[in-house]
């Protein structure tokens, strides 16, 4: 069951709204409807948000994204359509049922923080629990935990006015987290912050999300932010959702010129990560392999180096062609004596901008590893530039063996590879 499901959602302001919805459903244009005094803000929005995903709604100001968000928690009444939150049909609830649903299922983070200036940071964080009727000791303890999660437990007794913008929004986040709801609605939550703090907050949100696994609906006008945060992105224009898809899908197959125009502004270096450009991991060469055989393989693949494994799926080091040739020349039985260069390792989350420097050195291939430093794949040098330049990437499965990057030579007989 989706965490949130919206079906045929309309919001029309002004006069004769029901009539306007009917005409829009019959295919009337926004301009026509506007002529009769109704202002459509959201038109026929249908989407589902799966539990645990970050669903980003992206659009320029006036595109209806904030209106859409406010219909998801009933702050704005829908003109037509239904919203379901889990198994509850929000649009069918009375005021009291709606309040209960908000208390128990959803919390919200606001663009301008919306902290209560007359309450301490701790009491702000405890607000949702207070409304729900949780006793003072429990709610304070939980609020303190939430503040600790965002790193502000030292500030519990201050008033929000004493905090900087970034800290205020962390309190806003803590207030929403302390509510312990599964669903988090974030309305341009980071838009009022300066770029550095914004990036910090995005990182923190992703970090928290990795451990908490909330369902998040995130509104933003910044496509870079959408790409960084979103598992899926809905792009809105003039009240309509023009495309829903994963960041990759949207980058690779933009639905129309409007979306394409947006993508032109995407900072690819910050949006794409090693995950997007890496190719399947080559087999690691065992330290026991004979130098002559290794040389032969390198020659076959026209590569200048091989990755030598440590026997446990990790890269012990990189052997260059010169080093292997020297070993072969002195008749060494294995690569054991060869001086290995340290591997250049990056994570799947490393952005392209951060990949440029490692990719720029020539001798050692860039390897992508997991948290245990086990090899997941390698980054072909050309792929970084291609991705930055917006060259469409061939599907990973279609990459022929011969296109494997220089230095990532594989030996068929070698040890098993993870990833």
């Amino acid at each position: 069951m989706p965490a949130v499901h919206a079906e045929g959602l309309f919001k029309v302001f002004g006069r004769r709204t029901a009539d306007a919805v009917r005409r829009l459903q019959d295919g009337a244009s926004v301009a026509e409807v506007r002529g009769s005094g109704a202002t459509p803000a959201v038109i026929d929005a249908t989407f589902s948000v799966e539990p645990g995903e970050i669903f980003v709604v992206m659009g320029l100001s006036g595109s209806g994204k904030s209106t859409l968000l406010r219909m998801l928690n009933g702050l704005l009444e829908t003109t037509a359509g239904t919203v379901r939150v889990g198994d509850a049909e929000l649009t069918a609830l009375d005021a009291k049922g709606l309040r209960r649903l908000r208390q128990e299922r959803m919390s919200m983070v606001f663009q301008h923080f919306a902290l209560f200036p007359h309450r301490s940071v701790l009491d702000n964080a405890a607000y949702a629990l207070e409304v729900r009727g949780v006793d003072r000791a429990t709610r304070r303890a939980k609020a303190r935990e939430a503040l600790a999660l965002v790193g502000l437990d030292q500030w519990a007794d201050q008033k929000p006015g004493q905090l900087s913008g970034g800290m205020k929004q962390r309190v806003g986040l803590a207030r929403a987290l302390a509510a312990e709801t599964d669903l988090l609605l974030m309305d341009e939550a980071f838009s009022a912050l300066d770029p550095l703090i914004r990036r910090e907050m995005q990182d923190q949100l992703l970090e928290l999300q990795a451990s908490l696994g909330k369902t998040i609906v995130f509104i933003t006008h910044d496509l870079n932010e959408a790409m960084r945060l979103g598992d899926r992105i809905a792009i809105m224009r003039d009240g309509r959702i023009v495309q829903i898809g994963t960041p990759d899908q949207i980058l690779e197959t933009p639905a129309d010129d409007y979306v394409r125009q947006f993508l032109a502004d995407v900072d690819r270096g910050r949006v794409f990560t090693a995950r997007h450009v890496m190719v399947g991991a080559p087999a690691l060469v065992a330290p026991t392999a004979a130098p002559a055989q290794v040389l032969q393989t390198m020659h076959d693949h026209r590569s200048g180096s091989v990755l030598v494994g440590d026997g446990d799926g990790r890269v012990a080091g990189v052997a260059t062609e010169d080093a292997v040739r020297a070993a072969a020349a002195v008749g060494a039985p294995s690569l054991a004596g060869v001086a290995l260069l340290p591997p250049v390792e990056v994570r799947t989350t490393t952005t392209l901008s951060d990949l440029l420097a490692p990719a720029a050195q020539d001798e050692v291939p860039v390897t992508v590893v997991d948290d245990d430093r086990r090899l997941l794949g390698v980054v072909p040098r050309g792929a970084v530039l291609a991705a930055l330049g917006g060259v469409p990437r061939p599907a990973p499965a279609a990459v022929p063996e011969s296109l494997h990057p220089a230095g990532a030579t594989a030996l068929a007989t070698k040890e098993a590879v993870r990833g």
Binding site: R99, R102, M108, Q111, F116, H118, D194
Partner: protein, 332 residues
């Protein structure tokens, strides 16, 4: 051309509208039908004001003056305490203490009732644009109708004396309580109210927990205005027999006694300044409010200035931009 038009009007081209007659008839009807109600109000108010006056006159005047000065010192400053003590002692020396306390009792009771009526109406007006629109002309009427005009119907309903004084004072003084309560609540950042709703807070809780505390400085400015208007009206009410400083001033006019008139007027000024600075201090943020119950000091993030701060707190409460607020700016 213009002359002929005016002459035509003089000649009775337009029918005379007997507004005065209608009002007379209406008042007669009200007096005939609601007499018991007016009697009850009369009795209640009279008892209240007289009890308070007697209570104020019960302790030795110098002791009360010192106590009032100390109160001023607690809420405002030592300097204010010293100056108000001098002023209050002057009242005693001019032998104006008794009428001053009678006026103070009248002002306090009237202001209390005006605020008790005005704040709930202000809350109501803040919640409904329709109520607000309907109230506006009524409030304008109450405030701009010359104060003397109230005296006549008040006397018709309640007779000569203290009670019509209280009633006219309430009518005259209540509008700022309504207006500034409405203004204060409407000025609360809508995002904060939305936040309350988003976490499932019921409307009553949002009012008590968010709107009223944040509107408090503005509301207190309204209370301050109520008290000041009540004081000015209480003096006018001397014309219809309300005792106190108003009575002193009226007597001085009828006797053409300049000295007495000046003493009465000076006493009003002393009382006015004391009440204004005292109530103004309540609207301020914290300061020396440690002795005041926390609900009074908690709300204040907006008004920094002193009394009569309607304009000032209005600008201070305007939402500031989304940029990073330095710590001492009003929080959003």
């Amino acid at each position: 051309m213009a002359e002929t038009v005016f002459r035509a009007a003089d000649d009775g081209a337009l029918p005379q509208i007997p507004v005065g007659d209608w009002v007379d008839t209406g008042f007669d009807w009200v007096t005939d039908n609601f007499e018991p109600l007016f009697d009850a109000i009369s009795a209640g108010t009279e008892t209240g004001v007289e009890a308070l006056r007697d209570a104020l006159l019960f302790p030795p005047s110098i002791l009360l003056a010192v106590l009032l000065a100390v109160l001023g010192g607690v809420v405002r400053s030592v300097r204010f305490a010293v100056v108000s003590l001098l002023g209050l002692l002057l009242l005693i020396s001019m032998r104006m203490w008794e009428p001053a306390m009678a006026t103070l009792a009248l002002v306090l009771v009237s202001a209390l009732i005006a605020v008790a009526i005005g704040i709930p109406i202000g809350v109501w007006a803040a919640r409904s644009d329709r109520v607000s629109a309907a109230l506006r002309p009524v409030l304008d009427f109450m405030q701009t109708m010359p104060a003397f005009v109230y005296l006549v119907p008040a006397v018709t309903f309640f007779g000569i004396g203290l009670v019509p004084g209280v009633v006219t004072t309430i009518i005259f003084a209540a509008p700022p309580a309504v207006r500034l309560t409405e203004l204060g609540i409407r000025q609360v950042d809508p995002e904060l109210v939305e936040a309350g709703h988003a976490f499932g807070s019921p409307p009553g809780r949002i009012l008590r927990g968010i709107q009223l505390p944040l509107a408090l400085p503005t509301i207190m400015a309204g209370v301050n205005q109520v008290i000041m208007l009540a004081l000015s009206m209480a003096v006018i009410a001397g014309l219809i027999g309300a005792a106190g400083l108003g009575g002193v001033v009226v007597t001085s006019i009828s006797r053409l006694d300049v000295g007495l008139g000046f003493e009465g007027g000076l006493s009003v000024v002393v009382l006015a300044i004391y009440l204004d600075r005292l109530t103004g201090a309540f609207g301020q943020r914290r300061g020396r409010l440690s002795g005041i119950p926390s609900f009074l000091s908690r709300g204040g993030t907006v008004a920094k200035g002193g009394f009569a701060a309607s304009g000032r707190s209005a600008s201070a409460a305007m939402p500031v931009g989304p940029d990073q607020d330095p710590p001492n700016r009003p929080a959003r």
